[in-house]
């Protein structure tokens, strides 16, 4: 019977071409949507890796206008001491501009044994940064005062970077970098989803603010007590604005920053899902219509098959199986295109994401086709052979 169906399909290849392209296009769109959804979902399931509640972000400008390197350091020490002295403040850290839950990014290459790994987020932070964000050390330690006097620059990397570059190796104590700038890894910190719930943490390396980078500072992260309110915010604002001359000071809460950066990921996802929903409905109706039309066009054939020995059920299943075979062809072609993404590593997503999306879209298309073919198939089964034969 399958041979027969293949022949029938092959001989009708022109008519089937349209139906198959329709299935192919919807498969590819679904694949794209599912890839995105699976990627977001996988990221969403991972822990945040840091605590954003009760952390405030202070943006300020002109921090370096009047001071040279050493006095600037002193200037910040004094400011931090004064802020820390406020009862609502638990801890404070300066940070390079790429603070958590903002779009700001600073990326550099990471050199190890002459090999460069790209797209590594680099953060310049204080010794207190880990405490402010409640990050989790996996190996080694975070920076402390003793690091000020070491010869090699200490750095902390996150576990994604560790895995990418070193795999399962022990990394604490390893020297990295090129000859001009040698650094020593002193700790590994758990991944932190600094770009919100739905984005991957990416690879990251942290280093202490030094006498040159201190000029670029413009952000402070402050961990406050749970009851810190607007009154305190006002006092904090006054203190900072009064301390840094001619500065634009702005205080934001990371809890709000998280919401807005999540929207940033969610909105395109929702738009894409809605668009693809419409597309799928369209395809479903089209498929249904084509199958329905087919059955009416093929009433004579159905009547004849019934006359020569087909049961109603076998006629119905023939129509459904024919459509499923067409779907299978489309899916094979579609899968061929889909597997190019992980093979060519187009978007730097893991193979698992693509494969899950592939399986999901295949199942979805099969279900869609089955549902669309089922009712017309049943209609075909109910056709009276005498009536169908009579009509032609």
């Amino acid at each position: 019977m399958y041979r027969h169906l293949f022949k029938l399909i092959w001989n009708k290849r022109k008519q089937n071409f349209l139906l198959m392209s329709e299935m192919l296009v919807s498969f590819l769109v679904l694949f794209a949507v599912f890839t995105l959804l699976v990627y977001y979902y996988q990221n969403y399931k991972k822990p945040m890796g840091f605590e954003y509640k009760n952390v405030w972000l202070v943006n300020y400008s002109n921090g370096d206008k009047i001071h040279n390197g050493d006095s600037l350091k002193l200037f910040y020490e004094t400011l931090k001491r004064e802020i820390r002295a406020m009862p609502e403040v638990k801890d404070i850290s300066l940070s390079s501009s790429n603070v958590p839950l903002t779009q700001s990014m600073i990326q550099n290459g990471f050199f190890y044994k002459g090999k460069e790994t790209n797209n590594v987020n680099t953060y310049q932070v204080d010794d207190s940064y880990e405490n402010v964000l409640q990050m989790k050390m996996l190996e080694g330690r975070w920076f402390n005062k003793t690091d000020a006097v070491t010869n090699t620059v200490p750095i902390v990397i996150n576990s994604s970077l560790k895995e990418e570059v070193f795999g399962k190796e022990q990394v604490v104590g390893k020297i990295i970098g090129d000859d001009k700038a040698k650094k020593q890894i002193i700790g590994v910190v758990a991944d932190t989803k600094f770009k919100g719930d739905y984005e991957a943490s990416g690879m990251a390396s942290f280093s202490r603010i030094d006498s040159s980078s201190i000029h670029w500072m413009g952000k402070m992260l402050i961990r406050v007590t749970a009851d810190a309110g607007p009154a305190f915010e006002g006092r904090l604002y006054k203190k900072i604005a009064g301390y840094i001359e001619n500065s634009n000071v702005e205080i934001e809460h990371l809890i709000n920053k998280r919401k807005s950066i999540n929207y940033f990921a969610l909105v395109p996802m929702i738009v894409l899902s809605i668009v693809s929903c419409f597309l799928i409905i369209n395809v479903a109706l089209g498929l249904f219509g084509v199958l329905w039309y087919n059955i009416n066009r093929r009433r004579g054939e159905i009547g004849l098959r019934r006359a020569i020995g087909a049961t109603g059920r076998s006629v119905a299943s023939q129509l459904v199986i024919e459509t499923m075979i067409l779907a299978t062809f489309s899916l094979i072609i579609g899968a061929f295109f889909a597997v190019q993404f992980p093979l060519l590593n187009v978007f730097d997503l893991s193979t698992g994401v693509y494969m899950t999306a592939l399986v999901l879209s295949i199942i979805f298309i099969y279900l869609l086709v089955l549902v669309c073919a089922f009712y017309p198939g049943r209609q075909a089964a109910a056709i009276y052979p005498a009536v169908a034969l009579h009509e032609e």
Partner: protein
């Protein structure tokens, strides 16, 4: 071979009721070649469909061979049609997307047969109707007479005991018609196939063993 007893067929639609067959009783013997004539709309096709178990009578009883057909399931009916009956229609009813050979093989698909057996039987059937040189053609590439010969090959490929032909020569010119008629006569003579044929053509009808005339759903001769 076929025994119809008090067959009545009523077509009901929302507005009208048509009495297509009115109390028909008819016996067709094994090996007989019977023709049915009558004016258009008198119920010839209806009667043939009932004989062919394509349609159920509103009243009455159909026996084929020693098989009562009243309580057969859809599956049993399909199986029975496949084994015992062959159909030929005025409009051929070939599947245009299948080549001649595949069209002829169709009834065998609904039995347990291998691809090889099907090909062999279909080729033999096509030889019988003189079309073995057209097996790779599509129906649309054939003349009307050739198409009807394909349809006959399809009807006989499963070696049925009975062939039911509804105006098999209706769409053909008289030369072609005679050719088809000759094939049917040979089938009846050589293979002893029981044939019931509806026709509008007195000449054709005269070549058969017996003629039944219908008028307005009733048998008049």
């Amino acid at each position: 071979m076929i025994r119809l007893q008090n067959i009545e067929k009523v077509y009901r639609t929302d507005t009208i009721e048509t009495l297509a067959l009115n109390s028909i009783s008819l016996d067709v013997d094994k090996g007989e070649f019977l023709s049915i004539m009558g004016p258009s709309g008198c119920g010839k096709s209806t009667l043939l469909n009932i004989m062919g178990l394509l349609d159920a009578p509103s009243k009455g009883d159909v026996r084929i061979g020693d098989q009562a057909t009243l309580n057969l399931s859809d599956k049993q009916l399909a199986h029975f049609r496949n084994k015992k009956l062959g159909f030929i229609f005025q409009s051929y009813h070939l599947i245009n997307d299948l080549q001649v050979l595949d069209n002829v093989e169709l009834p065998l698909l609904y039995r347990n047969t291998t691809a090889k057996e099907r090909k062999q039987l279909a080729t033999e059937a096509l030889e019988k109707v003189g079309l073995s040189n057209r097996i790779k053609h599509f129906p649309t590439q054939l003349s009307g007479g050739q198409r009807q010969r394909v349809a006959i090959a399809r009807a006989i490929v499963g070696r049925p005991e009975i062939i039911l032909a509804d105006e098999p020569t209706g769409n053909l010119d008289s030369a072609m018609g005679s050719e088809i008629m000759e094939i049917l006569i040979q089938l009846n003579k050589v293979d002893k196939t029981t044939i019931v044929m509806v026709t509008h053509d007195e000449n054709m009808a005269n070549k058969t063993h017996r003629l039944v005339r219908l008028f307005d759903g009733a048998q008049v001769q």
